[in-house]
């Protein structure tokens, strides 16, 4: 054979499809990847440290900036953790509202993951369709809290304000509109011969690897492990809702994409159930002080965020500011799988696999 050399290629941070500011250093033998090393930290803002100098309430807007495509989830996780530390009871209506918002957020976020998954494979149209649908969710959010990306909506013991009157109807309209669209996207992308060629058997994540690298969320479920904190360790009022957990078979890129699509369907079901059973009442617990001073202690409260297990570990020393706040971000753990899944594939597969891991760098770098 002719002697050939390896090519060292920088992919990112300025690359159209590294989903933010990830840098992967690839060692290539021809077009095949010998080694892939992810480098992170381009979006590091030190949120965990900043949080130590803010009061508990002031941290809520900071959490918005973690996983910026699903801010509601971050609010949710943080607020739940602090509530557990303080022992605050949340009114039922507030819990329902939270679940509606969280599930809508899950759909919005999965739409981005699904659409960019298509974009990475070269199908641009499905991407724009997904953004069109996401726009409708953002309009719902805007109706409720006035913001479209960083909501700052959850409060200790509830949410900042009640739904406006027209919300329930708009949300129902959205569900009615969204269901056939999901079928359409399944036909357009998942059942497409070329997309299946590009994703089936590509980036296979074995169960063992998934568990040992701490993967969670759709990435873990795509590998065939039925694990969802909403079912396993129900928080808020998730035990009252009836939904399925989609699980993939082979753990390849297609399975992960399919799991996301299926989760959107389940989330629509949850939103519908929550809208049906939405109780009346207050949306904020009574008697939560303006300046929060939790009793000394520590708490870890994970929730099933869009990308997997999102948990806030908070240590309180009894003062008005958290002594330490650590975010267990799912995207970070999922991203650490890159060297494992990408190795041996081709350059064209890198972006597709990366897209299926769906990292958001606000959360990875914090």
């Amino acid at each position: 054979m002719i002697r050939t050399e390896e090519l060292q290629l920088n992919m990112g941070p300025q690359h159209p499809s590294t989903h933010g500011v990830l840098r992967i250093v690839l060692r290539l033998d021809g077009e095949v990847i010998v080694e892939a090393i992810p480098h992170i930290g381009y979006l590091h803002r030190g949120i965990e440290k900043i949080a130590e100098n803010r009061t508990y309430t002031q941290v809520i807007p900071l959490t918005d900036r973690l996983d910026y495509v699903s801010s509601m989830m971050n609010n949710f996780a943080y607020v739940l953790a602090v509530e557990e530390l303080m022992g605050i009871e949340v009114p039922e209506r507030a819990s329902f509202i939270r679940i509606i918002m969280a599930e809508l957020q899950r759909i919005a976020s999965h739409l981005i993951a699904f659409g960019t998954g298509g974009l990475d494979a070269g199908a641009m149209t499905v991407f724009l369709y997904c953004f069109r649908e996401r726009e409708r969710i953002l309009e719902l959010f805007e109706m409720v809290c006035g913001a479209r990306l960083t909501y700052n909506y959850f409060r200790f013991g509830g949410v900042s304000q009640d739904f406006p009157k027209e919300f329930a109807e708009s949300a129902r309209n959205f569900i009615k509109y969204m269901r056939p669209k999901l079928d359409e996207y399944e036909d357009l992308l998942l059942n497409n011969y070329i997309f299946q060629k590009r994703t089936k058997g590509v980036g296979v994540l074995k169960k063992k690897d998934a568990l040992s690298y701490g993967a969670s969320g759709p990435v873990l479920r795509g590998s065939g492990i039925k694990r969802d904190i909403r079912k396993e360790k129900p928080y808020s009022l998730y035990d009252r809702f009836d939904f399925e957990i989609p699980v993939g078979k082979n753990g390849d890129t297609w399975d992960r994409t399919w799991v996301r699509l299926e989760e959107m369907r389940q989330s629509l079901n949850i939103v519908e159930q929550a809208l049906d059973g939405l109780p009346s009442g207050k949306v904020k617990a009574w008697g939560v002080p303006r300046m929060i001073k939790p009793p000394p202690g520590e708490v870890y409260r994970p929730i099933e965020s869009t990308r997997g297990e999102l948990g806030f570990y908070i240590v309180s020393d009894g003062s008005a500011r958290p002594y330490r706040m650590k975010v267990r971000s799912p995207a970070f753990s999922n991203l650490s799988l890159i060297p494992v899944v990408i190795k041996g594939h081709q350059i064209a597969d890198v972006v597709v696999i990366l897209g299926s891991l769906d990292p958001v760098f606000g959360e990875v770098d914090r």
């Binding site: 050399e5 060292q8 920088n10 992919m11 990112g12 840098r23 250093v25 021809g30 077009e31």
Partner: protein, 121 residues
């Protein structure tokens, strides 16, 4: 003979016209465009980082065997065209003859396929 020469000449003339016209557009662009080169602007793009290593290397071309097969079949293709033109006049004899010729090549191709040459190594 001269007829073919004229054809070749025409292709050359047209290439010349094309080159001149593109050169004219380049010239026009040179006249009206700005040129403010700087070190950063002229640096090689590699996603915002300084390139690691060289890009002029002995790259591993993984479709090397395909390329070899390509040459063989490309020549076969050239033989097929004159055959196709006279086919209607030659009839069954030509078809059998070409079937044998293509058949030999196909046997070679199948052999290569079986051997795993038609795989992206």
């Amino acid at each position: 003979m001269e007829f073919y020469l004229l054809d070749v000449l025409l292709v050359l003339i047209f290439s010349g016209i094309g080159i001149i016209l593109i050169a004219l557009i380049f010239g026009l662009s040179k006249l009206i465009s700005t040129a403010k080169p700087s070190e950063v602007k002229e640096s090689t793009y590699e996603c915002g980082n300084v390139p690691i290593g060289e890009s002029w290397i002995q790259f591993r071309v993984r479709y090397y065997i395909f390329a070899l097969l390509f040459v063989i079949l490309d020549i076969e293709m050239i033989f097929l065209f004159p055959w196709a033109i006279v086919f209607q006049r030659m009839g069954l004899f030509a078809l059998i003859e070409m079937a044998i010729f293509v058949g030999l090549l196909v046997v070679g191709l199948v052999y290569a396929w079986r051997k795993g040459a038609l795989k992206w190594v």
